[in-house]
Symmetry: C2
DNA sequence: GTTTAGCAATCAAAAAGAAAGAGTGCTAAA
DNA sequence: TTTAGCACTCTTTCTTTTTGATTGCTAAAC
């Protein structure tokens, strides 16, 4: 759909712009990229690429800058595969080898490694708990009036929550709780913990509703609780030339500061292995100058969270995507 | 040590500068603050205040700006007590009334409320665990090869950690663990969990070292783990006029991004109820444009963490300190 | 002795103007 | 179809000018 030479020129322009953050002129392309034609020819092609919507001009007599459509084409068709060095591979390997006891920790290590290798700001979030099945529930008495509930899911994720009471709880009651909850909930999806269950358990046990209610409430809360966001390398973004603009910097801060937005961004669309949102493709005003690239942290195809990069539209897509692919593969095999 | 009128003028200048972020002229003080003398007199006083080091001039023909010494005097001597409105009191009350099960959550609510009321960026950190005493330790078997250890301290803080094994663990073993650990450690300070204990328990139980070792290791790790930083309202800082300077913005981001520095800042010096660090009083290059105000989250005089504000040197000290005092009182009484 | 009116001097910030230079688009020739 | 050549455009940068706020000083007033 785009002739070979146009593709080459577009690629050269975007590569150059990614490097320099300056509008790209026909002269630079001629000299640096040696495509075997003169700057005049490149100029002619640029006019057409602009007409087709792949390029933009900040003003009449300036060089060209990629448009959102240009970046999109670049990401979909022109990207360099395996743009990752041996050194980087080794670094990632060494980081991911760290022994961890909790999945959340592994996600965090992967997230910080991603930021370190790409030099962009990275962010991650745990998995949506409510899709998972309950493997086991345990209640532990702490002191006399405090109960800790620990839920183990089939993906190996552990959720725990504390429940406080106004009256004493006996070890006996705790045992009954353990038996009943496990009988009733083992193997069931997490979101089965809700109203109907409450009645069942209430009738089953000789507890007062006063005791059962806070348990169900708190379990419910623990399960539906938003999983923690983890942000790494926010300061790296501030080294980028685009952050000389106060507006850009502000948008960035507003973005990473509004946890709900970040959650939304990390939780949408996972048709592909790696998802790329360029500029305001995901219509958020604060996002217009940034791109977001995400992938799912999976292990044996079970969803363990999402990891992403938030960087300028002029992001080094090849590098980021290559690094992500590698990390993703490593995590899944771990 | 400073005559009454000089104090009044200094206060007026600092108040004005806090409001406007612009160098303050003698004319403005005369008109707005009505101190009963002419601008010429104020000018004369300003010269002396500058000579004494309380004021500075960006350039020869500009108004005056408070120096670090000026702010320090302001904070120590001129601050307005109870600079908090009824509305703000009500808002704080309603926020702190929220029922929580975990102390960490309460600290977080207090932190975000502080940011909301003062419009500055706030930050908090949990207490240093290792000063506390163990009230109870419980081990819970999750699946066959995973153990959760739950530690309850005498301050009501619950720490939990997961330990994975390469071989199966029996319920029986878990029971023994529970008995031994509780016998040995109840009432002891948390940092007693270390080497000697390992041997004791090893000799006491017929476990292989293979099992005991990871438990001690992981408990130790959980206890000495840096407590979580919680940051709220970073975007609020970016609305301040001082953040028009890219350098200031960068310093700020570097500051809040380096968790170790934030930890240090929150963990130093608590002779007073409320601690104020103005500019580079705590010699960190990134801090030179900012002030930090902190207080301890206490309940019945037990340390439950630290909460702070990080804002421009031109911060509304009266407001921040008043709000902090109120929140601190409320938390302690809760 | 202290306060204040008056005013020249200072200097940043804003506005206006001039020059430089990078890059384009078009034309006409190769 | 490609390319050399060149006028045109428009930002960027540098100077210059203007404006205006504020000071510090002097001398008079209190």
């Amino acid at each position: 759909m785009l002739e070979e030479r146009k593709k080459k020129i577009l690629q050269a322009i975007i590569d150059e712009y990614i490097n320099t953050a300056e509008p790209v002129s026909s002269g630079v392309i001629e000299k640096k990229y040696r495509l075997g034609c003169s700057s005049a020819t490149i100029r002619n092609e640029m006019v057409e690429l602009e007409k087709a919507g792949y390029l933009e001009k900040p003003h009449t007599s300036s060089g060209r800058v990629p448009s959102a459509k240009g970046y999109r084409f670049y990401v979909d068709e022109l990207i360099k595969e395996d743009d990752i060095s041996l050194q980087e591979i080794k670094y990632i390997q060494s980081k991911l080898e760290t022994k961890v006891n909790e999945i959340e920790e592994l996600t965090q290590i992967a997230t910080s490694t991603l930021s370190e290798v790409t030099h962009y700001t990275s962010v991650s979030i745990g998995p949506k708990a409510n899709f998972q099945n309950i493997e086991e529930i345990k209640f532990v008495l702490l002191g006399n009036r405090m109960l800790m509930a620990v839920i183990l899911t089939d993906t190996g994720i552990v959720k725990e929550t504390i429940i406080k009471f106004d009256e004493d709880i006996t070890e006996e009651q705790v045992n009954t709780l353990n038996i009943i909850f496990n009988n009733k909930l083992k193997g069931k999806p997490l979101d089965e913990i809700d109203k109907p269950l409450e009645e069942y358990i209430f009738s089953e046990m000789n507890y007062s509703l006063k005791v059962i209610k806070p348990i169900i409430q708190q379990l419910d809360r623990a399960i539906n609780e938003d999983s923690k966001l983890y942000l790494e390398g926010a300061n790296k973004s501030f080294e980028l030339p685009e952050f000389k603009s106060l507006e850009v910097a502000k948008n960035f801060i507003n973005l990473i500061d509004t946890k709900e937005v970040m959650r939304d961004l990390l939780n949408t669309g996972f048709a592909k292995d790696i998802n790329v949102y360029i500029g305001d493709e995901s219509d958020n005003e604060n996002l217009k100058d940034f791109s977001i690239i995400t992938f799912k942290h999976r292990y044996q195809n079970k969803d363990l969270g999402t990891i992403g990069i938030i960087g300028p539209k002029r992001m080094d897509y090849s590098k980021v995507i290559s690094v992500m692919k590698y990390i993703s593969k490593k995590l899944n095999g771990k």
